[in-house]
Amino acid sequence: MTGLSTDKLTLHIMNRVGHYDVESLDLDNANGGGVYTSSPGFSPTPNGYDGRKSIISNKRLHRRQYKAQSKHNIQLDHFVKTPSLSQRLREISQEEKLQLRLKKKNSKWSGSLPCCSSLKNLREKVEFWGSSIRSIEGHQGTGVISFFILLRWLFGMNLALFVISFGFLNLPILLFDQQSYYLGVEETFIEQCTANYTVKVSDDGLQLFLDFFLGSGWMEKTPVFFGYYPGKYMTDGSYIYNFPLAYLFVIIICLLLSVFLMARYSVKAFRKNALADEQDTLYTAMVYCSWDYSLKYERVCETKKRKLRYTLASEMQDQRFLKNRDEKMEQCPYRCMLYLVRIIVNLFVIACLGGAGYAIFKASEFSSSWTTVNTVESGTNKILLFLVEFLPSITITVLNAVLPLVFEIVIMAERYTQDFVIKLSLVRTVFLKLASVAILIASIYTGVISCTTKDSCGSITAPCPSITLSALYACEPPNRPYRTTRNNNFFMIVLIFTFFLSSFPVIYAISNISSSHGCGPFRVYDFPYMVVGKGIEDVQLEGFTIAYTILTSPAVTSSLIIILLVLLFYCSKLRIAHKDTVKFLRDKIVIENHDRQNMFEELKKYRKIK
């Protein structure tokens, strides 16, 4: 809208625009119950199905009463369409082309480190399972694919961890000559314990097979077993490799790397969804974002259309159900009864979870006590022994299969919306599976620590590696056509949670469990963490030991913790401030739109007068 000729007019309009809010408020009061204009064919009633307390809906009612007369409000900046490629090719000049090319080159490499760019190139050329993923995408769509992409990422992370542990632990064993091993510490009784600890590899075929699952017998002589690793220094004459220190550092680095990679993934995903408030765009997203353009096959598309129709119809039905329920909730008897039912169901669910945990605990207790009494030597049947040893796992599997079905049945009585039903069921099922893991870890802990028949050479710690992945499989992606990003975030949260749950025993073992003197890389030391102290001593630098003692003193560590807490507090406050800014800007859009309409009306009036 060019050419507002007089400055006076401009000022006048700007003034009107500035006072617009006040004006509209007055009009609202004036037209309290007045007639509002309506376009043909659409009911002007306010959306009565809406159970949500939306602030906008009340404002909308007021705005409808004060609406511009024309159907097509001419916007001052109308929609400008991008010209087609052929047109762009014809119209663009050489210099503009060069500029564009430079801009593209710069934007590609901005924001990434030089090493990351070469990694990205590699990833573009070597895409694991690219064709399989593309074919699945054509059949099932983007929702399912995101789960597989997460699994592929997980595989990549495991590969990285494998490379690190293999490179620092297994390679030295292969490279350094075994004759060159020597103890860094003078302790002769350690040699005695090591000599005493012999692994009995049985001749029986069945026992050998069972050994593979239990990790005993011949498995103890492989690199998979903790005790295989030597507790000595390695040297090739000039270079000394402190193996126990390397082992401890590999554990710590693997833990830290996992945390770093998972955090980076979560932050990337979080940044994408930071402004996405799903409640506000629910139905629009359902219509405009649910058709997956990458689907290729006829049958799949038909299924998808049917699913979409079913989802839309059930969402509308849900909304009517919610309105109906909310109306009923106004009356006390229905409301009180519903709350009572909900409390009962929640208590029932908690009782089930508690019962499940107790059952697992009892099973593992029974299993460990029974197997210490009835060992192979006393002549019990090997298969029976195997079954009892696996009793805790069997209990967990049965409970994980049966209890979710029970939860599914009882949740119907609670009368929640479909959305909340899915969330609540998922939370309850995940709690069940995580509780099983937690109880199992607790029982292992009590079994190992409170073992009274320890001799001076100590007992062996058992690692528990595969718990993380099984907890991830606990989440089946729910059947919604447009919730892919939400599911991914949920999987990642479960992964992180389980990671911390399973890293806790490892860290505990490093710091508090006295190491076995019979085997393993820490056999020389009383506790595994003492390796670090010895390693520091080995470094013959002057101020190094002093610096180390200062850095690990309580003063420094507690100050660091306080600084971290302050940063955390600051970030959370920042987030709240941003949320407020977003809300303010959103309201501003509405006001600006009205201002423009009003300004245009004024201009029309002015032209008419002229």
């Binding site: 159907k71 916007q75 087609s84 506000d280 629009t284 405009y288 598309c301 979409l308 129709r309 009517r320």
Partner: protein, 184 residues
């Protein structure tokens, strides 16, 4: 099909790469797919215009409920017939590298059935009908859904979605980018 490399000069490929969001390798791949739609015609003249029925032979478009609108929007003549450059433009907008605002603009044009630069309730109804397939939604459900969408997106209450309103509401939906994508 090693011949696709020789169909374009270095300069042409460069220009295409600068003005679209595809790499040279991807552009050649798109040409390969375009070729398979009508080998005789394209072999004779690579700038030939393929009719809408030929374009819709592409498997990715054949099952898409909005295929007619897509062809109309990207066709430079406006009637659905596309040259290779139109086809390339389409693949560029649907690629991974295209930024969100470009995708939103073209999505708006595709979903605006009556081409008046606004999405009216009629446009919405057509979209929903195409999405649900043979079995349509009931009258009551349809009206309720349209009302809900206008309540979410229509900020100035004119029963029309302008591009600004559409962009505003779609940019907030996290799954838009993932669904508005065709990979050849």
């Amino acid at each position: 099909m090693g011949g696709s490399q020789s169909a374009f000069t270095e300069q042409e490929l460069d220009d295409y790469q600068t003005l679209t969001y595809l790499t040279k390798k991807e552009i050649l791949h798109v040409y390969k797919r375009f070729f398979t739609l009508a080998p005789q015609a394209v072999n004779q003249d690579k700038n030939t215009k393929l009719g809408i029925s030929d374009i819709q032979k592409l498997p990715e478009l054949k099952v898409n409920p909005f295929r007619e609108r897509i062809c109309k929007v990207f066709s430079s003549s406006g009637d659905g017939d596309m040259t290779f450059e139109d086809f390339l433009d389409m693949m560029s907008v649907f690629s991974d590298q295209a930024p969100k605002n470009v995708k939103v603009e073209y999505a708006f044009r595709i979903y605006d059935f009556d081409e008046d630069d606004y999405i009216s309730a009629g446009d919405l109804k057509e979209v929903i009908d195409k999405l649900t397939g043979d079995q349509k939604l009931s009258e009551e459900d349809m009206q309720q859904l349209i009302d809900n969408i206008f309540m979410e997106a229509d900020l100035d209450d004119d029963e029309l979605l302008s591009f600004a309103e559409f962009e505003h509401v779609i940019s907030k939906a996290p799954d838009f980018i993932n669904s508005f994508r065709i990979r050849l």
